[in-house]
Symmetry: C2
Subunit: 169 residues, 2 copies
């Protein structure tokens, strides 16, 4: 059970990036995303993907993030370029009840102390989408992207072009 | 030598996501990004990161993408959820003169035929930022994020908090 917590989402400015964070969470094996700011349009667009492509990925927005992090009983990881190398931390992280925190531009200083590990995917500025994808890919030993979603729409891998299989409803 | 080609960038709508694509390209070992649409603000913000964090990553916007892809003499990969699994393709790709194409929402159909490989990082909808990061991470066997940039600003890995080293100019 893996949950992603997205902090600092501003609906107008971050709509697309937070959507990418949510879909990346789902595609790389997380079970849910919590977003600190309320954003019903974001919820709708993520649920629309779940409805079409399957699985039971959940999204909730407008959550009390401090309380969630403080009261989390499993492992807590914060992805930040300031943290320790992923190679060092990943082998110690258990994914059975894992909270992964990703911020937008500024993350409150206290987050660095609220989590068990601050983890860096490289120490250069890049993207919380990239950090989340690579962290989940590494954590799963590369197997996360093979999860079967069995949704109404499925892609058949193809060397050229788009093959979409659509099940009867 | 790895170059990323970003298609379908709309400056207002995609500013943040394309910035994430560019910074991810840089942080995961690419040498340059080409963006189909002219966007001077995007160029400035990427060059600002390069100036502060080092390296010689290049950005060019407003490029003739069809001609670039057609005339590319090295390998050409298009990242798309419709493509073949990354596990199958990555071992065949040479990174010495590689062009990696990532789209925004819609990629012209002809792209699927212009490249050598259409490659999927999983067959679920997620993010071109995630796809690019994981592809470069896998292609480099996990070493891409260890590249040294030796810029004026460097991060020292830390279990708690932010440690930034600033060199004398």
């Amino acid at each position: 059970m893996i949950t992603v917590l997205r902090l600092g989402h501003r609906p107008a400015r971050d709509k697309r990036v937070t959507t990418h964070v949510a879909l990346t969470a789902r595609a790389f094996g997380a079970d849910a995303i919590l977003v600190s700011t309320k954003d019903l349009a974001l919820e709708r667009s993520v649920r629309d993907v779940v409805r079409r492509f399957g699985g039971d990925f959940r999204i909730q927005t407008g959550v009390p993030w401090r309380r969630i992090v403080r009261e989390w009983t499993g492992s807590k990881v914060h992805l930040t370029m300031y943290g320790e190398p992923v190679e060092k931390v990943a082998p110690q992280v258990r994914s059975d009840n894992l909270l992964i925190v990703v911020g937008a531009e500024k993350v409150p200083r206290e987050m660095f102390d609220l989590v068990d590990w601050n983890v860096a995917i490289g120490h250069q500025p890049h993207s919380e989408v990239a950090a989340l994808a690579v962290f989940l890919d590494r954590l799963s030993g590369g197997t996360a992207v093979h999860r079967e979603f069995s949704g109404p729409l499925r892609i058949r891998p193809s060397p050229r072009g788009k093959v979409v299989l659509e099940s009867e409803p």
